[in-house]
Amino acid sequence: MSRYLVRRLLLAAGVLWAAYTVTFLVLYALPGDPVSIMYGGESSDVTPEQLDALRAQYGLDQPLPVQYVTQLGHALRGDLGTSVVNGQPVTTLIADALPPTAQIAGLALVLAIVVGGGLAVVATATRSRRLSGFLLSLPPLGVAVPSFWFGLTLVQWFSFQIPLFPALGNQGFASAVLPAVTLALPTSALIAQMLSRSLLHTLREPYVDTALAKGASRTRVHLRHALRNAALPALTVTGLVIGGLLSGAVVTETVFSRAGLGRLTATSVSAQDIPVVQGVVLVAATVYVLVNLLIDIVYPLLDPRIVTGSRRRVTSPPPPRPADAAPEPAADRVPVTAGGTR
């Protein structure tokens, strides 16, 4: 198990490093001059001499590989550079912006799991074809609705028509409700789609018939047998779901004029503040990697078929089925000529 953990950790670190490299390549190595993008523009009154000075200040006059190594070194020490707009350290900006975004993203995730998961379970469990048909038609609709428009519509109804929640800002829990609902919409649609497809598939598995033949009720079969099996594949996309919440925050926080990571991203892109954009992308990649790391650790506990250690490898699926011919001679007659030692 610990070997497995170490392997996973190293893999996660590798993905993170590669993600850093990708953002560096996109932001610094694509044709175009970062300094003139950041400070230039057609209407700029910065002189070429000043630009050169700035390049030197940011180390951008160095060859690309040198810049890369230097920046990577800084990043490893927790220094992501400074914003070109207001000169603040990127880490500080992100640290300030993270909590409000985490608040609505967390709320949205809970909402999405409850609504999306509930919809999938009810839609697949009900005997009424009409109800299930109606429920199953909702997720495609949820995916098709642009969240910026959905957010505005919510404001229209629940701030203006019926003034329940504030239309914008960061004051208190009430102000987080509409943004969270907005964020949750595409996420819950995704969860509902994945889970209901998975459930419908699982319910056709022969082991469901086996359970019914035991005399189990449909509810029992649905919740005790089908749901757990169906939820496993859905679990693997959690990383994508959470990544989706982060990018959804860009739009949502703009709609609700909320401070947060998304708003920071939007303003930084508008101001072409490259170090901040890079910082935000890295945060997103880190979250994704951490979530997947967590899933990797939890998954084997939920699915016995995934073997973590190297010991029980005979049971892993690929080569011929272990002991099919005769049950009497035990399972260890697999013709394995062991190559490497464990």
């Binding site: 590669a18 993600a19 953002t23 642009p146 505005l152 990797d296």
Partner: protein
């Protein structure tokens, strides 16, 4: 197995063949293939098979009957036709000028004169939506084209060549997938600058990873299918097999994907134009139209609602058509 592996399970290169030529069809274990399904299913299969052959005998009649049974699809097709018309000959649908406003008529609610009402400058919203179709659709199509061409190429090469090439390509794809697509688009826009074309390219490139992964698994599926090996074994040259067996069978899912991606691209493009990274103001991009209505939310609901519904309808239509191309899975009846 990592969760990423789980996602790609079954498409991870050549498995060590155990006993069979190709896992599913030839492994003698699966001689039970036919017996494994319950007889009910088997019977249904037999029936469906007969239906299939009936369908083949009179394709047009059955197609038409199918359509009548699927009002949603008919609606989607009609809407797509309207959208295409609006994109190519907008003046046919809306003869008015989308940029020319009558200040006296500002912020009017929808009426027979102004179907979608007017905005704060007295411009006809309906004309603006119709004329904006061209911008949004062109951007979405470009994005799909970029994503599909680059992604399909990467996936095709990775799936067909295999080995180290495949490993490297898929690791890169894994990394790209760790960055949410919208954020990747935003990073690209930061460097490329604003404007419809840049938005389109950014959205397209952000999709390369997922498209290439799907294409690869599709190529692997077809490449390892028995009829491809049969073709190989009967003496066909490999390029004949690739061109006459693998591609025709792998292309179907890509077309399905293209339709689906078009809907997603419309969403992404209008999100970015809502955020203000598209064409500068007077241009009536759909996302920008919604953004423009934001300040009049309290008084003039139509400014956000109607362009928004247009987007929803378009994305839904793309999704519905994609599902129809896919042979309507999930709605099995």
């Amino acid at each position: 197995m990592s969760s990423l592996d789980a996602l790609t399970a079954g498409e991870r290169g050549p498995q060590p063949p155990t006993e069979a030529f190709v896992p599913t069809a030839l492994d003698p274990n699966t001689r039970a293939d036919k017996f494994a399904a319950t007889s009910a299913e088997r019977f249904a299969d037999a029936v469906l098979e007969r239906e299939d052959s009936l369908a083949r005998r009179s394709p047009w009649r059955t197609r038409f009957e199918d359509l009548v049974r699927k009002p949603g699809l008919v609606l989607a097709l009609v809407w797509s036709a309207v959208i295409l018309l609006a994109a190519f000959v907008p003046s046919l649908l809306a003869p008015g000028d989308p940029l020319d406003g009558v200040p006296a008529d500002k912020l009017q609610a929808p009426s027979s004169a102004h179907w979608f009402g007017t905005d704060q400058l007295g411009r006809d919203l309906y004309s603006r939506v119709v004329h904006g179709t061209h911008l949004t659709l062109a951007a979405a199509l470009t994005a799909v084209l970029v994503g599909l061409v680059v992604g399909a190429l990467v996936g095709l090469v990775a799936g067909f060549v295999g080995g180290v090439v495949d490993d490297v390509a898929m690791r890169v794809v894994d990394v790209l997938l760790s960055i949410p697509a919208l954020l990747l688009s935003l990073a690209l826009i930061t460097v490329l600058g604003f404007g419809t074309i840049n938005v389109a390219i950014a959205v397209g490139l952000a999709n390369v990873a997922s498209v290439s992964r799907i294409m690869r698994s599709e190529v692997l599926r077809v490449r390892t299918s028995v009829f491809v090996e049969a073709s190989h074994a009967s003496g066909s040259r490999w390029w004949t097999t690739l061109g006459r067996h693998v591609l025709p069978n792998a292309i179907g899912p890509v077309v399905v994907l293209a339709a689906l991606e078009l809907g997603a691209a419309v969403l992404a493009v209008s999100s970015l134009s809502f955020l203000g990274y598209g064409e500068p103001p007077p241009a009536p991009e759909w996302g920008a139209l919604v953004a423009g209505g934001r300040d009049y939310l309290r008084t003039s609901w139509w400014l956000t609602t109607l362009p928004g519904l247009t987007i929803v309808a378009t994305v839904l239509a793309a999704g519905r058509i994609s599902r129809a191309l896919d042979g309507d899975p999930g709605r099995n009846r």
